[in-house]
Symmetry: D2
Subunit: 347 residues, 4 copies
């Protein structure tokens, strides 16, 4: 069976990546692509790397243009998807790649985003361990999916297994991320210019203000963390894509190393797209470039009493577009991995 | 007065950087440069960026070739400087840029390096706060200087002010560093190839095994930290130089934000080469490229109960060669900043 | 029908890329992977980005281990494939990704490579225009394919249309290429270290000595160029993959602009993997990253009397592994594009 | 003697680089810095790498603010300096880093820039060979200096020696340049975003339309080239700074290799900032990063009948700010190299 698809925000990085992945999806047929200022142009004029879409022209992003498809991907700026989503039919599968439907807490939304609160949809990280089962179970029964924040899902996948198993503490987590600038989108800001980023490591949103913090805390609570606190610092480094997240948490006193490691082994046994590397191995972002794969390396540091989890993710794939498509596959009852690459483009 | 200088390891990255900086030093006259496999070649054939040294040829690295100068810089592989240093006259000012003379603890040396233990020389980070005064005081009275490990001094400078002032805890420190590969030297290892590093973030020495850990702990003890513990993770990112260290420590309960910040302001007031940025500002490594400057940004994260200090350093300058020269200036009674650039090469 | 496949040199960059692409090829079944010093290790220990190959272990590169498959890909150092290829059965489809079987001229081989001359196999660039037809015709009837040099095929595809059509001269061609270091393989050479390449543009093989020059001349002769001469300069730039080739040739006097452009439009009309962009547009290497696509932009420069063709290619895909698989598809009578991506991974 | 200095456009890349270099100039005292939208801010808030300028605040760019200094550097957008320069006193030394005063030909100005034509000032490339002497002679007698276009001066220095000596032809020159994006300034354009540039090589201004072309032709005419034609293609590569220019020209038939090489050796013998490397050596941009040095490598390619000259320049130093200061030193009768670094920051 073939599902018809519309992609809004098709001129941006997330929209482009959804289209790149869908080009190899056997069950999805992209019929409509929409944009804001680029409406009216051929898609390929704006996204010249998408050679298989020479037949599509960008339309305006309106509910009219998006309705009438089986699936709608919203890849719009934060705050823009709530209103348009409300106009789409209930039976349409809608996946929002923006932040508008990620947070359950109205207070968190107000504190970190502001503006109208639209309520939470089903969170699109299938492998995420929850106190009971995984997030996958919920995705099988929804028509509204909130694709995750790329940094948030990377950190949540890094730590949720240990919290669920009770081997690490959810308080006093520290995460520092080396990230590529594509996570910030195609926005014209001076600090995102190539001249500013090439050859430099640039921190931003330091000290507890990054918008992905409440999203991480929410995921850690789902895994059983009572009152998660996290020191979270992202650093833009000179690579277009990728997240290398180093997360540490205190080991619950008295837990031996094998028990700690077993929490992650159990959580991700059999998972295709979230893999724990063997002891002593750690991932590089190049290993997952272009792939829907999160690779994790884990080490117990006995001197500091902490576990260190290093996770590599392609922010545009497993962090956004791949997570969206994987979640859509589940919601539609398709084989979960359909159309999604597991091998990275390296070197 | 002009001091004569010999630089060993002149074909490597640290040695090359010492020479680049000394080219603008009015009181130092480089007479001898030595190397191992490149001995016999013109310096400029191996270091083509050092255009002002067309008159020098690399000699063998022997005590004979190094002796007879007022100052000797040792930029040799770890473990190689101890033996040669022992043969140099007591009145010669010797600055070791390797690790051989950094650690006071024989047990730490054995655990993290191994081989012969040579004892500690005066640590070459002048601004480092100690329980009383700064490290500068000790450098004024020495003929033997151990230039710091680049990551170690960056983290030590980031946290020592708060420990000395009693506003942060020395236990459960977490540091994650984005670093350029030049810190690893010019060694032919597959994981240091350009193809492996370009477009990728690559962690290494994860989980408490990095050799700079005992050096950081030693410095934090000097500042008054009782029993420092640190979770330390370096990540190689695609820039040839630079360290962007994100360090967090728990704030001593009950300390207000202004008091925390004041510890750093006091420690570095009047310092030329270690500067705390105004509140809300954070440094980028490009800001200090080629400069002997450490820039710090500090934020209190009340939710996590931690202070976050982000420090930017050029690993080859303030992290190594600049620290060596600054320390030598002090030891010789010269103006401390002589020959050392404070402005970064940006963008 | 499923064909069994062996890949030698599977621990290198070209071998790894063949495997990455074959993971999505529905008709090929990779049974055997071989290597030299890494034999005995799991493939994934050496190529951690190839997550779908957890079941394979590297064997020694011997004719015995490679024989018994329908298809053998040789991704060995130059000079190593000739001897082993001679031991493979005549009915096996063999694709050599090294240089050993590219050149028809024994004199060229002696001048640019040296060592035993093994004679030329069918050149693996299907779209390459020849005086009559394209190279594709020859590939349909062969069991021995020489995958091209990445720089050579990029320049040949850039200029052959104009030479065949008689609108440009084959003498006094000038090509300058910005290339990623992965084209040089995983060899441990100081000038390929990340520290040397990051933030720098590094020329090599300047002045008529690069080994791809006779290969380009050969292809231009096939297109009808009488006595091609080329000034060819490659420059390594800080990206792991990609070739951006700027090639210029003198326009045959009296030829109008439309006629010049039509030569390329005609040559590549209907081609999936070699596309001429609309007038005024030029390709970026990111547009073809990971894809089997060559994108060309063409401009007539009336003041200089030259046509400028800018071509973007992923050296490991369309430049090597993709060309190999595309050619194999043709030789086996499969749909030519099977298993080969056309969309680039951008940004 | 100390000269007072004003720098306009101090918030941009060229202005910032002038300030970085002037910080080490013993005879210049920067009193005034001006900007457009950033006026009113501390300089260091906009240029955080310039730590030695904490005392300066950006003023509006007006003739009033600039007048009253011995030297005025104009680092303004093209078209903006003509009007303001006209209001400065005749006895003030004015150096324009924009294009407004580079071209002697009103027709060239109209064709490549447009708008008001202001006439040519003395061109600021001291070492440039002219039919008689060098450009240095003219700079000693001027109060109005046009700092060069970075690409233009790099190519002109690459080829002028051979043209003056009559050993190469000025027609049918081909130049292809790998350049960093800082040459395009701090302008907010989508194609200059880090996400677009990282990991990619991006051509622009292909096919005879780049604005530096008439400037190159003018310089080659000064060297004796009758009617220079040039195919000129710049490619942005992922490094913040640097130009690696590969230029080729046909050797005048019958000229032997030694005579060709001697033209460049003679032209640059004794020059500190323009150096020809020994035969077989070619420069990398890292070798000149941050330095006022142009390094040239030269090879005769007998098969193609062309000389290949590869030149490495830091676009912001020898290409702009360094050339400006070097020229100012000459005009003021100071030692030409005052305040200008010759050693690059590598790796």
């Amino acid at each position: 069976m073939t599902f018809t698809v519309a992609v809004s925000g098709a001129s941006g990085y997330a929209g482009g990546e959804i289209l790149r992945l869908l080009a190899d999806h056997p069950d999805f047929d992209v019929r409509t692509v929409t944009a804001h200022s680029n409406a009216g142009q051929p898609l390929i004029a704006v996204q010249p790397h998408l050679r298989s879409y020479t037949h599509l022209t960008l339309k305006d992003t309106t509910a009219e243009n998006l309705a009438g498809h089986d699936i709608v991907f919203l890849a719009l700026p934060h705050g823009a998807s709530g209103a348009i989503a409300a106009q789409l039919p209930a039976e349409t599968l809608v996946i929002d790649c923006g932040a508008d439907h990620r947070l359950e807490s109205k207070a968190d939304w107000a504190a970190f985003y502001g503006g109208d609160f639209h309520g939470a949809w089903t969170y699109g990280v299938p492998e995420l361990p929850r106190l009971s089962g995984t997030q996958r179970d919920r995705l099988a029964k929804t028509k509204r999916i909130a694709a995750p924040g790329c940094n948030a899902s990377t950190v949540a996948l890094s730590l949720a297994p240990g919290i669920r198993a009770g081997v690490i503490e959810a308080s006093d987590v520290v995460s520092v991320l080396a990230v590529g600038p594509s996570g910030a989108g195609k926005s014209l800001k001076a600090h995102l210019l190539g001249s500013e980023l090439l050859g430099s490591a640039n921190p931003y949103s330091v000290g507890g203000v990054h918008r992905h913090i409440p999203e991480i805390q929410q995921a850690l609570r789902w895994a059983g963390g009572g009152n998660p606190t996290i020191s979270f610092t992202p650093v833009i480094v000179p690579m277009s894509r990728g997240i290398l997240a180093t997360s540490t948490a205190r080991i619950v006193p008295g837990t031996d190393a094998a028990t700690v490691r077993a929490a992650w082994e159990d959580a991700y046994a059999g998972e295709r797209f979230v893999q724990l590397l063997p002891e002593g191995q750690f991932p590089r972002t190049a290993d997952v470039l272009g792939a829907n794969t999160a690779l994790l390396g884990l080490q117990i540091d006995e001197n500091s009493g902490r576990v260190v989890v290093v996770a590599a993710v392609d922010n545009l794939v497993k962090g956004t577009a791949g997570a969206a498509i994987q979640s859509a596959n589940i919601a539609l009852g398709l084989t979960e991995s359909t159309g999604l690459p597991v091998n990275g483009v390296a070197p």
